[in-house]
Symmetry: none
DNA sequence: CATGAATGAGTATTCATTCAT
DNA sequence: TATGAATGAATACTCATTCAT
């Protein structure tokens, strides 16, 4: 920090090295999970794919379950960051539509993260260790949608007889299910068509 | 060996025993997958859980991939059989509503199969060997919905400006996503509430 | 069993194959432990040394702890069988002396089992999983000595004011300690001299 | 570096810190070995248990073998120091009895060191690197006993027909074996009873 | 001097698969 | 047909060791 040496590539501190390596490992893990699934992810592969040793993932994450958990957190955090870019719109119907668009479009723009996310979502159904992390993600995702619906109602943009809570969960459900089907059959399913029809239905159903 | 019973009868009995055992193995596999996931399913466990030897699953299904494939088929077939009970209604809006209800209620009534199905759906995202089976299931499921929508349009029960194909996919998406969220958080998500709200929205959106 | 085929090398039954392999594995394990100690025993080495695959020990004993436990049992059983050959003498002072002689001489005659036994005895001090097995061996070994002392007292061969229980434990202690010292320094310690002096002291101390 | 304090004082303080840390590491190692055994002792654990870094033990002792050796020496030295407190008695039968008492009582008073010592004694049987250290300990321990026996003979307190050398080894054997049995079954074995009976037998056997 | 990041070899462990009975 | 013994490859995991800070 207080090192003024003129060396351009300043030597990294231990903490920097550590977090740099950790980030690289998680990035590599995302790619591998997206391509092969959690089941066929090996600790050694992650280390090598990240340009480190075969042993480093075990050293950092302790066990495969540890890596899986950290990976879920990482994906969820990354994903949340992406969706939150919709908050340039004021809460309300506009933001809701922007969020929905982002959900669909991020699947298209970043299929790696999307595929990894859905692999983790699927795993959470039969893996108690991940369930809480994913349940929490789901709850927060639905809550963000719910907030926009309520704001829309308050602003008179959204019909006031809508059950914001349940509707939010169903909206999240539809997006998740649509993306999952697309991931299973990218050629047979036209995601942009699903997006347009979905947004259309949303307007029809919610608009005051 | 020294059994003198008529050959035909004997053959039949062996064939019966075989399919009986096979059914028992698949049933055991469904339970294990529902409880622990495909990753933690082992051939030996399936054999023992079904009351047979550790070696029988390999004997019948050849390999783990063979079992996985047969299992996916079995779940898909079972599932389809359940949903098709809606066909006592004539094709049209009534049958559509009945099918939707069945989708939700079968999750509640048979959480084991449901959980196993969703484990397989999740796996298909990153497992090419299952993708086709699942893509096919998805296509047929959506097609059944689409048929009812079209019949509804023809009967004048459903608005004629509805895009039957895309809407059917989105309907399937919403159900799948809703059940998936419920499976991840059975206490936090009220499935029957989701069902009612979903059916309500459906009527509002589709009814002529 | 009821196979009367004239083949000399009759095909072994599955159960025979299994127990044969298990015996071979344990025998190999004894040798490795005697030579290198429990710490440097690997499951793969045991399998290979026994002429089987590297994976078989894990397959049979489940884990290294499992093997260690089975090994302790096996050594203890083998050892007990050896010492019990003293029972051709009637219980009493003669049998006691014969047992003591056997203890010392079996160390000399079968240093492999002896070394392995003492490795296990040492391990039991800091390994709770073995403690009970070894505590039981110790209790039974001391009890056998105690029985002979009591019989000797009853027969008037042994002084009646001897505390049979505690003396038996101390006798076992002395033998164990003597053999342990010999194993640590075979050149510096003359075991036969220890044996003779020990037997001499025993007579002096116990004889009526 | 930029410290202007007298060099000598500084050196001394660093040397002190070094030996302080080394002592703390060895103390921690003794506890870990007593509780878990040499096999389950890790360098990192020792460092952390001593309140230092995970890397310090490797820094000081070079390798695990280095630590093991230093630990054996440390335990042996500590142990010898304890027993030598008997030298307030003049050499002879009294000192012998005092030494024996100390052997038993130190096991009771400091079970941690005792357990660690016996773990090392057990390991020495199959570990050539420790054998010499332990053989030397054994030889010196027996020699101390032998000296007292000889002094007792010279003073006319001990029977002159006793083979001092072999008897000393057997005495050490009995104590070691007794403590080992107690360590394996603290509840089932009454060490103080063994001590009393042992001392009693000793008097009867050796006293002139 | 002291820390802790990173490595990689060693090993336990799991399990699909093959094969003898 | 059915069992289960045996194999061996795959992989998680541990930890001594080295090295940069």
């Amino acid at each position: 920090m207080c090192d003024d040496s003129p060396v351009l590539a300043r030597r990294r501190s231990q903490a920097e090295r550590r977090s740099e390596a950790e980030a690289a490992l998680l990035k590599a893990a995302v790619r591998i999970v997206a391509e092969r699934g959690l089941e066929r992810l090996t600790l050694a592969d992650v280390g090598e794919a990240a340009g480190y040793s075969r042993g480093l993932p075990a050293h950092y994450f302790g066990s495969k379950d540890g890596l899986t958990g950290a990976l879920a957190m990482h994906i969820v955090r990354n994903f949340g960051r992406g969706v939150n870019r919709a908050d340039k719109h004021a809460p309300g119907f506009e933001r809701l539509l922007a969020m929905m668009t982002l959900y669909f479009d991020s699947a298209w723009k970043d299929p790696l993260t999307t595929r990894a996310l859905h692999a983790v979502l699927g795993e959470a159904i039969t893996n108690a260790a991940l369930r809480e992390t994913i349940a929490d993600l789901n709850a927060r995702s639905a809550a963000a949608i719910e907030d926009s619906i309520r704001a829309g109602i308050a602003a008179g943009e959204v019909r006031s007889d809508v059950n914001a809570h349940v509707t939010a969960i169903l909206i999240l459900s539809a997006i998740r299910g649509a993306v999952a089907q697309w991931l299973t059959d990218e050629r047979g399913i036209d995601l942009s068509m699903l997006r347009d029809e979905f947004l259309d239905g949303l307007k029809r159903r919610l608009r005051a």
